[in-house]
């Protein structure tokens, strides 16, 4: 998810990640190619499913970053190692969780 060149191990993972990048990016021809590749790999229903999920997190990222919510404490406690490994603590928006739960960062 952080480095799309890595194999996710998920069926159609390469096509899904390319579609995610293109769906919210400015390169329309790349999106058209990624859509066709995704449909070819996983079928036409996967295109609307992937679009729906990408769209949902487009919304949620704006809700989270627009209202300054911290992560839930149990989620922070359970993700300490993986956040550090993936560099997620370096995201600008980590500050809203760090402010309230500094010991969990």
């Amino acid at each position: 998810m952080i480095d799309p060149s890595q194999d996710s191990g998920v069926p159609g993972g390469k096509e899904i990640l390319a579609f995610a990048d293109a769906a919210i990016g400015p390169d329309r021809p790349a999106l058209d190619r990624a859509r066709a590749d995704l449909a070819g790999a996983l079928g036409p229903k996967a295109v609307s499913a992937a679009s729906a999920v990408a769209a949902t997190f487009t919304k949620n990222d704006r809700l989270a970053n627009g209202t300054g919510i911290p992560s839930e404490l149990p989620m922070l406690k359970n993700s300490k190692d993986i956040r550090a490994e993936l560099g997620i603590n370096d995201f600008r928006t980590a500050v809203y969780s760090r402010t309230h739960y500094p010991d969990e960062m």
Partner: protein, 239 residues
């Protein structure tokens, strides 16, 4: 006739219904903004996205608006619509000092988030943006949950039960609601509409902890989480 009848890719009926209803509802007065103002917010979102190259302009996007939004509103709408990764507390404070109330701010965040969501979906399946409706008459309803208070977000939120009491129960139901769902609770109508999209497009909240729950035919939970995680990584959403 369905909203996405021109799609080459099959669209779940509940997504089609939710998007049709939510786009149409933008024509109604909201809680704090009038219909013309809400549609002006929507048009500002689209203009910002056209300029950033993340949406394509086309004829038939709906009627023009003659409503001029305050500068502080335009600035935060454009910023949040196209660059959520560097939207920060200063962005929020600028909007507030520019004259937006917390209630107005939350309603705008809701509209920006929901419209970008529906527009990303349309572009994802390869259809033009759906037209915005014309404003209908009426007045904003007003009304703020009395129990809303400053918790850990910038904006006031309705606390979970038991602190939130009957108002929280009426808005959220019985269960615990994480901040991502409660972020818009200062404006309950925005909360409800956001959850409606969440449940149609991602999965019903009651199934969120069911690891192998599959909401989309032919698209597994691991495939769903892969795309969810990638989009959030690009937007640098820590949550």
């Amino acid at each position: 006739m369905t909203l996405y009848a021109d799609s080459e890719y099959p669209v779940r009926a509940e997504i089609d219904r939710a998007h049709a209803a939510q786009l149409d509802h933008l024509a109604d007065p909201g809680t704090w903004g009038g219909a013309a103002q809400r549609l002006a917010v929507a048009r500002e979102v689209r203009e910002a996205c056209y300029e950033a190259g993340v949406q394509e302009k086309h004829d038939g996007a709906g009627p023009e608006s003659d409503v001029e939004l305050p500068g502080a509103a335009r600035e935060m709408i454009r910023h949040l619509a196209v660059s959520p990764r560097d939207f920060d507390q200063q962005s929020y404070e600028s909007a507030r000092s520019g004259g937006l109330s917390d209630e107005e701010y939350v309603e705008i965040v809701g509209i920006v988030s929901r419209l970008t969501c529906m527009d990303v979906f349309a572009r994802g399946i390869g259809v033009p943006l759906r037209p915005l409706p014309a404003a209908r008459d009426g007045r904003a309803s007003g009304g703020r949950p009395g129990v809303a208070r400053k918790e850990l977000a910038w904006v006031p939120t309705v606390p979970n039960l038991p602190e939130g009491g009957e108002e929280a129960k009426a808005i959220f139901g019985e269960g615990y609601r994480p901040y991502i769902l409660r972020s818009l609770s200062l404006v309950p109508d925005e909360f409800r509409q956001s959850v409606e999209l969440e449940e149609a497009q991602y999965l019903p909240m009651k199934n969120i902890m069911v690891k192998d729950y599959q909401h989309h035919e032919g698209f597994s939970r691991s495939q769903v989480e892969l795309i969810a995680g990638r989009v959030s990584a690009i937007n640098e959403c820590f949550y």
